[in-house]
Symmetry: C2
Subunit: 335 residues, 2 copies
């Protein structure tokens, strides 16, 4: 294995993919920090909008590794971590290196920007995957360079662009992903398929989704709630795709507070939302094909069930695959 | 992400799994080397029996990283690398750390043992996953300790035991694995499923298998060669499971030199072999169920085809999953 810039960027990328789908309306971002002697001090990611950026999370971990000062672990907000680092860094990051999948932000909001923080901590060099094209946050590279930090761009650029793809679609108007769970033999019926961890994952995504799309038949058969109770999250609005508009209104999804439920025979409601998850199997896959930007498959390593995907012809690029608990999670783009 | 001993051992483990199935009759082993200041100098694996052990491959890479002396890259045999390191190490490995999934060998064969080499290079500490229970090679930990190297055992012990499982089965008598290729929708028909890289993988495994088992129907329909031509390897003996003993002898597999072909209606031939690959789909999966130690699935990220796995109920632990070229490769144990 070659241990080079790509290796460290890949660590940052893999960490970031663990949070893909949870960070909306922010992008998924990963960051690795290396000491001047090239020890890995931290590999962290952005977890959720409103929480610290990947760089700040990595600085927090690296600071703890270098000092064993557990106080920093008790700090939750970006502003608190930022202030603590500025007051206590003691030049420990002088000549360190930082790898980030996305150009550090230049945005001065509740805290100064990541680019200014990295500059102030006297990093030697920053390796960047993708450029930030979001007007509010771009020019981080320029700030770093003005402050004497060497910037090397486009490390694993394609892979970092793949990570950023959902965010870029959101900036263009909306991001739509199709999520399904299946067994190894492609069945999707006969009870719970995914591990608990996978289901928690899905609830984290529902929590930040605007709209969840589902087929009428699934609603009638499964009688689902489709909320984010496993993470105490908010329930997204629901679009049920069905020609038959009649539903038993005792089905739990109709009785979740602060949620709109639409029953339509088409997808035009999608134009009113920005981050949309479609949950389904074979039939919904075909119906929604033209609207979907990415596919997310939870694959359980089991054989069982009796019906599921069939009669479809498609090919995907796997953007990321990882094992989580018992299952395999794959983000894919149709090609 | 926590950067600790487990992190470095996991790097060694993941590298080793890339060569699982190719190293017979040796175990798959991975190794990482860190500088005294904790820079990752190398992560390498054992590739093939007769070639350098994982530790020697990692020392070769680390030496090159530290010296830029490309001469060592031209050395192929373990003996040559070993001798070159002994003559040229210049104490550069003093106080380095080494992570190895398996206790370093103590066997003095064509070269001195890995344990003695690591000792002679004055490593500070060695982190070991599994103990070597092979009588010829064990006691590496003792050699290291006698030479003043600190040894910490059982780092990610379960994961390292999983990596070693095929080798342990082989030592007990024989190792049998069931390999199949499928699409996302579990189909196995309708032409080539796997990427070129996946097929090269399979040929590397056939090259070191004693016996390849296949169903009579597959032979009649696919008319395969079942050799290791993609890697210029040797063709394994073939056991065709079929009640009907009549075959068109022009089917290529019957005309490969230096190979025995058996046609039987049972699996008793397995007792005469040590490293056995079964290739098949649904029917062979069920027939061979009681003989199989591990399952190897090449999953192509495509929908297509029309028939494949069905009517099976089983559950697996995923021992390793990785993306290779276009496909996903999973090693699994039935639970």
């Amino acid at each position: 294995m070659i241990i080079n810039h790509n290796f460290y960027m890949k660590l940052a990328l893999d960490e970031a993919w663990k949070y893909q789908g949870f960070t909306y309306p922010n992008p998924a971002v990963g960051c690795a920090i290396l000491s001047p002697s090239r020890e890995i001090l931290a590999v962290e990611a952005h977890h959720r909008s409103g929480e610290a950026h990947a760089e700040v999370n990595a600085l927090k971990s690296a600071y703890y590794k270098l000092t064993n000062d557990a106080y920093i672990l008790s700090l939750e907000t970006s502003a608190d971590i930022h202030a603590y680092l500025i007051n206590n860094h003691n030049n420990m990051f002088n000549n360190c290196s930082l790898y980030t999948t996305l150009e550090p932000c230049s945005h001065y909001g509740k805290t100064p920007s990541c680019a200014s923080l990295i500059s102030e901590l006297s990093f030697k060099d920053v390796y960047v995957g993708s450029y930030d094209t979001n007007k509010k946050a771009q020019n981080g590279n320029t700030i770093l360079q003005k402050n004497g930090v060497k910037v090397v761009s486009e490390i694993l650029h394609n892979e970092c662009e793949n990570l950023l793809f959902p965010f870029k679609k959101f900036l263009e108007g909306r991001f739509v992903f199709f999520k399904w769970a299946q067994r190894l033999n492609a069945t999707t019926d006969d009870g719970i398929i995914s591990s608990h961890e996978s289901r928690v994952d899905v609830h984290k995504m529902r929590d930040v989704c605007d709209l969840l799309v589902i087929g009428g038949n699934s609603v009638r058969v499964d009688r689902p709630t489709l909320d984010a109770r496993l993470v105490d999250g908010k329930a997204p609005d629901i679009l049920i795709i069905s020609r038959d508009k009649e539903f038993d209104r005792n089905i739990p999804l109709f009785n979740v507070k602060n949620r709109k439920v639409f029953v339509e025979d088409n997808f035009s409601k999608l134009s009113e939302y920005k981050n949309i998850m479609i949950e389904g199997t074979s039939k919904m896959y075909e119906l929604s094909r033209e609207y979907v930007d990415l596919y997310l498959c939870y694959l359980a390593p089991t054989f069982g069930g009796s019906s599921g995907f069939d009669n479809i012809n498609d090919k995907f690029d796997i953007l990321n695959v990882r094992q989580a608990d018992e299952d395999i999670i794959m983000w894919m783009k149709r090609i």
